[in-house]
Symmetry: C2
Amino acid sequence: MSLLVVGSLAVDTIETPFARKERALGGSATYISLAAQYFVGADISLVGVVGDDFPAHAWKLFKDRGFNLDGVEVIEGGKTFFWEGKYHYDMNTRDSIATELNVFADFSPKVPNAQLKPEFLVLGNIEPRLQSDVIDQLQAQPKLILLDTMDYWIKSARPALEETLSKANALVINDSEARLLVETPSLIVAGKKLQQMLSPVTDRIVIIKKGEHGALLFFNDKLFSAPAYPLEEIFDPTGAGDSFMGGFIGYLARRGSIDYENVKRAVVFGTVLASYCCGKFSTEGIESLTLDAISDRFKELQFLSAFQEEPELAIG
Amino acid sequence: MSLLVVGSLAVDTIETPFARKERALGGSATYISLAAQYFVGADISLVGVVGDDFPAHAWKLFKDRGFNLDGVEVIEGGKTFFWEGKYHYDMNTRDSIATELNVFADFSPKVPNAQLKPEFLVLGNIEPRLQSDVIDQLQAQPKLILLDTMDYWIKSARPALEETLSKANALVINDSEARLLVETPSLIVAGKKLQQMLSPVTDRIVIIKKGEHGALLFFNDKLFSAPAYPLEEIFDPTGAGDSFMGGFIGYLARRGSIDYENVKRAVVFGTVLASYCCGKFSTEGIESLTLDAISDRFKELQFLSAFQEEPELAIG
């Protein structure tokens, strides 16, 4: 089924305790679409903005996969969104060394006419007002509208974010942002409160990402606790959250139906894509996977989280 | 099978954001044995020390359950170990207001002759030198020796702790303590390094407790990621870790055999007992459970962590 991806397209300079890479490919729309394509193939359209410095190998990467790029605006003489970050020893914290919005500062997403009826829509972490504007442009209700956001928007644009949430039916958010948005220490309470902020007329899906501790899925009145993939070493966590979103919505778009079993599996496939993302620099970890490799980690996650019923039911 | 529990017997004054309770029953041996008895019944012996102020209702609680108390030394005119703590709003942090070791300061555990061949031994969080001394007193190798420890001993008694670990085959430790003991940010690496510190001649079991994020089990070369029980409200977390240990070793002592499926289930039963412990003050949450109530939460944990195989194996 068709998937529309709206988000940033960027150039990242990344330093980790292990290595440094200058001007690598980045941006939420990049990671989301590269991760999703393993499941939906070419039926992906991107909406974003770049300068004419956007790397040739990135264009090639997208075109080779058959993505529709009609919605990617190229600003002649403009510079692509640039981010430079440095990760600390434990990889859980990072410093932003530079954030140059460049052409992204005036980004006003315009969905091409041919893409106004996507079956699945994912809105990467951009200004909530713009996310809302994309939803308003659509000519039909998608099966799923999935949002990302961040602490910056929670603090600076709460009313716009709340309006956007009320038009969506799925939110992916990390644990500290969830606690910030609904002001409660309990993640279980937070997830339920976040569900109440989503559109009341559809399924309500909230996923709280907990990094090395896995993720919690709130699907209507059901809960699912997903394990993290047990990585011994994280090479570069940049884009892991976006890869998660791409794997998640890509799998659902492939399946086409939003039910509890599919959504649980989608969380696990998101976890698999995020784990591969962390294994190499930039997008390299999710550029050339095989379905066998994806399936292997899915099965590993199943093995490490499954336990059997107590055989002796009357344990006393 | 017989279970020997060595640890503290205490009186706790606890303040949470919800309420305050003066001189409640506490101590690691208390929580461990109360949690374990649901699985092993009366076949539990305690080794500890109290003053003659140890509350009458505590004696009654132990005697009603048929515990062997020959190893509990009563110091006439002495005062029982007293701890006073205050929990913060998020329940994850607490301040120790008072720690009065009293008779516990000179505790030198002496295992009664009749208990020198326990099949299962659990050593609550006491000085590593004393834990080691208990192991040396035994006349036969137990099926399982389970240890707890804390940051204080890791910092102040590392050589003794390392010696004790080398005589044990199971360790329960929380995530920050695991990172401190083996100095690595990755919990996966930490768990494997901790296994190497245990006795090389038996199964090696390490459980890293992650609070609201569940627990990781390292069983020989296998890993298991256990979910947390989704509590919306924590009433009093005192003793949750000890209740976990009691549920864990109690279930294994009931089963009698240490295999991967049993050990995984034991982690889940430990999680169940810890969750009940958090629901009321002091030991109240684990004093009068039913096996049905324990079994219900076990099944809930199974439901919220299970996901099905991908039906379409060739997902591409």
